[in-house]
């Protein structure tokens, strides 16, 4: 994620990948493109963020993989599991709670 503070962004890849995969199954490159498109070019995951995050989510059984042949190429597709869906609900609620809190502090301004 170019140009963003790493500590601030910790946990964001997991949330975004789960959210995008809740819509449909995708392969790595497709996910990278979707992150960019869905965030209107605000976020971009390089392969060094994307694949370790995907493998980690799969290892924790939040995602599962399936090989599919599309246009003569065998690709590894990722899809959300039931456990991943539950985790997405938790993370979304957590993100909204934090975002609301941060927004309230920022809205109050420096002298608030």
């Amino acid at each position: 994620m170019a140009g963003s503070d790493r500590a601030l962004m910790a946990g964001v890849p997991e949330l975004l990948l789960l959210q995008l995969l809740a819509r449909r199954t995708m392969y790595g490159y497709e996910l990278a493109q979707q992150v960019r498109l869905a965030s209107r070019d605000t976020l971009a995951f390089g392969e060094s963020v994307l694949y370790p995050a995907l493998h980690s989510l799969e290892q924790r059984r939040l995602l599962q993989t399936r090989e599919r042949t599309v246009d003569g190429r065998v690709r590894i597709y990722y899809e959300l599991t039931a456990k991943g869906s539950t985790r997405l609900t938790q993370l979304t609620a957590e993100w909204r709670r934090i975002a609301t809190g941060v927004e309230a502090v920022l809205a109050a301004g420096p002298h608030g």
Partner: protein, 228 residues
């Protein structure tokens, strides 16, 4: 060197760095495959946009960038580590003795079948040929096979040298502890420190240590990823 060859070498170096960092073989293989696909997808998109293939490949390499960050991201995650890394103590400290016993049993059974097959079996297990064959299986062949397997696993999974050294010491001690005792009226197989054959233990320790060093020199060179 053409670009394909350069890619293969870069992949082999990346694989080695990931394995050395403790990442599981399954994740290493799949990461290499996914990166290759990712690169091909970038090239394909750029070619479809009207770029020249060579320029597209160059750009794909630039976009995928340097592997340091990928290696750091993968090695920092404990869930991506190989079982040999996560449970090294189990394999290299608790594993050797059961392995020596299991392989000893298998080797002895194989020797029995072979002696039977070539007509040397007499049914009297204390007969010279049979006894020395079975004891060789238990005292030398099984410990050596167990030690070699563990050294091979250590080199293949790039675990720290301390673990195969522990395994070789335990295997050598196990070998020295397997002895045959003939009291005249009864022959018994003993496992313990009294009696203990120091010479056998020392010889096996050095032979397996040398084997480990040779395997490390041979197998830990960067390999093309299709050899992973």
């Amino acid at each position: 060197m053409d670009e394909m060859e350069q890619d293969r070498r870069a992949e082999a170096r990346l694989a080695q760095r990931l394995l050395r960092g403790g990442v599981g073989l399954r994740h290493v293989r799949r990461t290499l495959r996914e990166l290759r696909d990712h690169r091909e997808d970038i090239v394909e998109r750029m070619v479809n946009q009207g770029h020249d293939r060579a320029a597209a490949r160059h750009e794909a390499h630039r976009l995928l960038g340097d592997p340091d960050s990928l290696v750091a991201q993968m090695t920092v995650r404990p869930e991506l580590r190989s079982r040999a890394r996560r449970f090294a103590w189990l394999l290299f400290v608790l594993g050797p003795m059961p392995m020596v016993c299991a392989l000893g049993l298998l080797a002895t059974l194989a020797a029995m079948v072979t002696l039977e097959g070539i007509g040397l079996a007499t049914g009297d297990y204390s007969a010279d040929v049979e006894l020395s064959t079975y004891m060789a299986m238990l005292q030398w062949v099984a410990p050596a096979a167990a030690g070699l397997l563990l050294c091979w696993a250590a080199v293949r999974r790039e675990v720290a040298a301390i673990w195969p050294v522990c395994a070789v010491v335990i295997v050598a001690l196990s070998s020295g502890a397997i002895n045959y005792h003939d009291s005249g009226s009864m022959a018994t197989l003993a496992f313990g420190l009294y009696p203990f054959d120091e010479q056998r233990a020392v010889v096996l320790f050095f032979v397996l240590g040398l084997a480990y060093l040779l395997l490390r020199g041979r197998l830990s060179r960067p390999r093309p990823n299709n050899a992973l």
